[in-house]
């Protein structure tokens, strides 16, 4: 996979001095591990943490003695951090970091819930993770489509809002969520049409344009919500619902089954789109040309590729995808539209795009990471008896994850070379 396994074997000590990337990350992990270990020492000895893997199978549950587990997990993190730090043993960087981070996260979770009566329901957490990640997956895919062809799409937030609004309206009016979803994709594409037209035809600065489009759509949907929806909710703004499809057998897999195979159509659409865009981007003519246009438009032009029309087309397709993300916020979540309901998800999708290195699969993993952080925040703030961590810190968690992910896991990121640079002939 592309996100984590950046072995960067060429990164020699000679080039970077003592503090190579794996030494830095190793130090951070070791410090985190020590912190976890110290936290574990403060715990009372008898506490237990029960973990349940599957809602439908109540017997698939286990109770761990919390203190030794936390101490062990802390020690694992310290050990892996130390190994990276010394650089003596050659470990696969991505895997090592992944295991160490997972150990730290799990230890903190167990510490936080280790009180009688509390249960960590793995399957619910994972299912929630998937749902929270979903708009980010659509958003980052939209970003991939735009930015791989050289247009910066800061307007994902606006496309989400337009899709959410139009989806709720069209779905309610026609009585069919499917029509709503279709209308939402068209609405998203309409917003990116404006982006494409102004950015490509009139060479407006793309970042400024994206911000302005976000504000425009925010104002427009707010205005229309006031005028059309507010006084007549039942005819214009109902909570639409699409059925959940349980895939036989697969949805019964403990822990991950419900998250991946017992969801509504949006989850399946997202997963299929990730795979589709990945294959298209790296293994088809369209993908090769799209990447060429985003990296070196002049070179693409000299071999007869119509740079601006390809960019235009891709930006429109991106709008369809982010419109779908918007539709999920209303129809997929079975919620009516409310003003500014996207709440910054479009911007987090941009961060996901970067964390995922402008790669659909990277975007999927990044979105899951964010989804997980948000899910943990929700889960811990609702633990009976209160979480030992102040809620303000929990609210920071997703953003903390952003910083750690961008700085530590990803290493050097490189945007498409011509990203945001309009192509005009001399």
């Amino acid at each position: 996979m592309t996100t984590i396994d950046v072995a960067e074997s060429a990164e020699s000590t000679a080039l970077h001095g003592f503090w190579t990337r794996s030494r830095k990350v190793g130090t951070v992990l070791a410090v985190l591990g020590i912190a976890v270990f110290l936290i574990g020492l403060t715990m009372t000895a008898g506490a237990e943490a029960s973990v349940r893997f599957n809602l439908t199978l109540p017997e698939a549950a286990a109770a761990f003695p919390a203190k030794p587990v936390v101490l062990t997990l802390g020690a694992v993190a310290v050990l892996l951090g130390a190994l990276l730090l010394t650089g003596r043993v050659h470990l696969p960087f991505g895997l090592t970091v992944g295991v160490a981070v997972a150990a730290v996260v799990l230890a903190l979770l167990i510490w936080a819930i280790a009180r009688p009566g509390n249960t960590l329901q793995i399957d619910t957490v994972l299912k929630g993770t998937m749902l929270l990640a979903l708009p980010l997956i659509f958003g980052s895919l939209s970003g991939v489509l735009c930015e791989r062809s050289g247009i910066i799409n800061v307007g994902i937030e606006g496309q989400f809002l337009a899709g959410a609004f139009t989806g709720a309206l069209a779905g309610t009016v026609t009585g069919s969520p499917w029509v709503g979803i279709l209308a939402a994709t068209v609405a998203g594409a309409l917003v990116t049409f404006v982006l494409a037209a102004l950015a490509i035809r009139y060479v407006v600065d793309q970042v400024v344009l994206g911000v302005v489009l976000n504000l425009l759509v925010l104002g427009l949907t707010g205005f229309l919500f006031d005028r059309i929806m507010k006084d007549n909710e039942s005819a214009t703004n109902l909570a639409m619902r699409v059925p959940e499809w349980q895939i036989p057998i697969l949805s019964d897999i403990p822990a991950i089954g419900p998250a991946l195979f017992g969801q509504n159509v949006f989850v399946y659409l997202a997963l299929v789109l990730v795979a589709l865009v990945y294959v298209m981007l790296f293994h088809t003519r369209w993908g090769l040309r799209t990447r060429a246009v985003g990296e070196h438009p002049v070179a693409a032009d000299t071999v007869g590729i119509k740079v601006n029309s390809l960019r235009f087309r891709n930006v429109l397709i991106a709008g369809l995808v982010s419109g779908l993300g918007g539709a999920f916020l209303t129809i997929g979540e079975a919620l009516p539209f409310s003003e500014n309901m996207t709440d910054g998800k479009g911007f987090i999708a941009l961060a996901v795009l970067i964390v995922g290195r402008w790669n659909p699969i990277g975007g999927l993993l990044g979105a899951l990471l964010f989804g997980f952080a948000m899910q943990i925040e929700q889960f811990l703030s609702s633990v009976p008896g209160g979480s030992p961590v102040p809620s303000e810190f929990l609210a920071m968690l997703p953003y903390l994850v952003t910083i750690v992910a961008v700085a530590g896991l990803i290493g050097r990121v490189r945007a498409p070379a011509a990203d945001g640079k309009p192509y005009t002939k001399a």
């Binding site: 000679a14 088809t284 003519r285 693409a300 007869g304 590729i305």
Partner: protein
């Protein structure tokens, strides 16, 4: 006006050289031919064999290219001066871009046939390159080869080569000229754009000279180099550098066992030792990508060194900062003037004081002295013959040659102990080249030591009192500039005297 009513006719199976100074409008003309620029007036007529009757008369069609796609369809192929390659793609991906084939009905890219096509062309013309190599990891010379393969693979009738030899070794140039002859004998037409008189004379069947956007004459390769140069520049130029024998004195630059890593961590400079004395010009000859860039940057402390010592005027400077080196009296003409030599969006006046902006008389207590800066600029523009309307224009508005003169003016208007000149006349026209060379010699005569690093062997041989041949991060030989070119060419390709016979066959 970049091009003013130019008429040019290329016959089938001929190599037609287009000769002109930088900024004369050669590239503009070719970009119009290639559909990158649409002409305001005039027409392009292309004759191709009739599909029904391949051996009959050529059928003429009038074209007006709106895009390079049109030009490709009309049978034109172009090797651009600035490579048209996507750096993050492999060689094969670059070559098939724009004419991709798919595997069956799956719609997936057929990379295997792309590789095969690259291998076939590279074998046929001896242009060896790994189809799976990433272009950004290839040396510039090999990237050039990819460009040529890209043009050859598309079955073009007319091949336009825009300054193709700039990055090649003498041997590679000879190979390229052979390839061009082979293509000509295949019946293809070639337009060869160059400002290098030797190559033009060696290869062309006909020569068209353009100056300031107009055709100033058509001639044959029998014309002498000085005739061609005079047509190109519009006045008589001296093609050789006139200089007295050198009188080397004390060492000003002593490098021993220097090792520098490049961005990828390999040792670009690998245990190199070299001495430059005051009052002499040492020329470093070598094919681009053999560590010359890193050598210059290491001397200027722009690249971190791994090992070895650098002594400048007797002081150990291996761990000095760049500004300390500049203050020690070292002048530096960087290889890439628009990237490292100038701030493109600054005015000419500002660019002229970049190495002394923070000290009197140009600044007092942190405030710039505009009057003094302007005086300096006016003075420099006059002495160094920078062609501009005003010192307040941006550096980006100047032509390449004039940009280079600004750098030379900045570096040369203070007393120097050592001058590092990397590619001092790259992309500079004959007139400006003559001027810059004479200033470098003048700098030597006033007692500075000069290190000239150039991939133009002619330049090294003309300027240097001593030639150091660099290969694979090391100086593999030091020879006199009177050494035959062939011999130096072999050294540049890495063969030392011992295995010369092995390399000869």
């Amino acid at each position: 006006m970049a091009n003013d009513h130019i008429d040019l006719t290329v016959e089938p199976g001929e190599i037609h050289a287009l000769l002109g100074e930088n900024g004369a409008g050669k590239s503009t003309l070719m970009n119009m031919l290639y559909g990158l620029i649409t002409p305001d007036e005039g027409e392009i007529v292309i004759g191709r064999p009739d599909a029904a009757d391949p051996d009959g008369e050529l059928v003429d069609t009038v074209h007006r290219f709106q895009s390079p796609g049109d030009a490709l369809d009309a049978g034109l192929g172009m090797v651009h001066q600035h490579f048209m390659l996507v750096p993050v793609f492999t060689v094969a991906e670059n070559v098939i871009l724009g004419r991709e084939t798919s595997k069956g009905r799956t719609g997936l890219l057929d990379r295997d046939s792309a590789r095969a096509a690259v291998r076939e062309v590279s074998e046929r013309y001896g242009l060896w390159v790994d189809p799976d190599a990433l272009v950004e990891e290839l040396p510039v010379g090999v990237q050039q080869r990819v460009e040529i393969i890209k043009a050859l693979i598309s079955d073009c009738e007319l091949l336009i080569l825009d300054e193709p030899t700039a990055v090649l070794t003498p041997q590679e140039i000879n190979e390229l000229l052979d390839i061009m002859r082979q293509l000509r004998d295949d019946g293809k037409s070639i337009v060869f754009i160059s400002h290098k008189l030797k190559e033009v004379k060696a290869i062309a069947d006909r020569i068209t000279v353009i100056r300031r956007g107009k055709v100033v004459g058509e001639t044959s390769p029998t014309a002498s180099e000085s005739e061609l140069a005079a047509m190109m520049v519009g006045r008589d130029v001296r093609l050789t550098v006139e200089k007295e024998p050198a009188s080397p004195d004390t060492p000003v630059l002593e490098i021993s066992d220097l090792t520098v890593a490049d961005d990828r961590g390999t040792h670009a400079v690998d245990g190199l030792s070299l001495t430059v004395r005051s009052g002499e010009i040492v020329g470093v000859a070598g094919v681009q990508g053999n560590g010359q860039t890193e050598l210059a940057e290491a001397i200027m402390a722009l690249a971190p060194t791994i090992g070895g010592t650098i002594r400048i005027a007797g002081d150990d400077m291996a761990h000095a900062k760049t500004h300390e080196i500049i203050e020690a009296g070292v002048g530096y003409i960087p290889e890439d003037r628009s990237l490292d030599g100038l701030v493109r969006d600054f005015t000419i006046a500002e660019n002229l004081i970049l190495n002394r902006y923070n000290r009197p008389p140009y600044a007092r207590r942190g405030v710039l002295n505009a009057a003094e800066i302007q005086r300096r600029a006016a003075d420099n523009i006059e002495t160094f013959d920078v062609r501009t309307q005003s010192a307040d224009h941006t550096a980006a508005s100047l032509s390449g040659g004039n940009q280079q003169k600004v750098i030379v003016a900045r570096e040369f208007s203070r007393p120097l102990k050592l001058l590092i000149a990397a590619q001092p006349t790259r992309g500079v026209d004959v007139g400006a080249m003559e001027f810059i060379h004479s200033r470098i010699v003048a700098e030597r005569d006033s007692g500075a030591g000069v290190l000239v690093i150039s991939s133009e062997l002619d330049e090294v041989l003309a300027l240097a009192d001593r030639v150091a041949v660099m290969y694979d991060g090391k100086i593999i030989a030091e020879v006199s500039p009177d050494t035959p070119r062939d011999e130096i060419g072999l050294l540049m390709a890495g063969s030392t005297g011992d295995d010369e016979e092995a390399a000869g066959d």
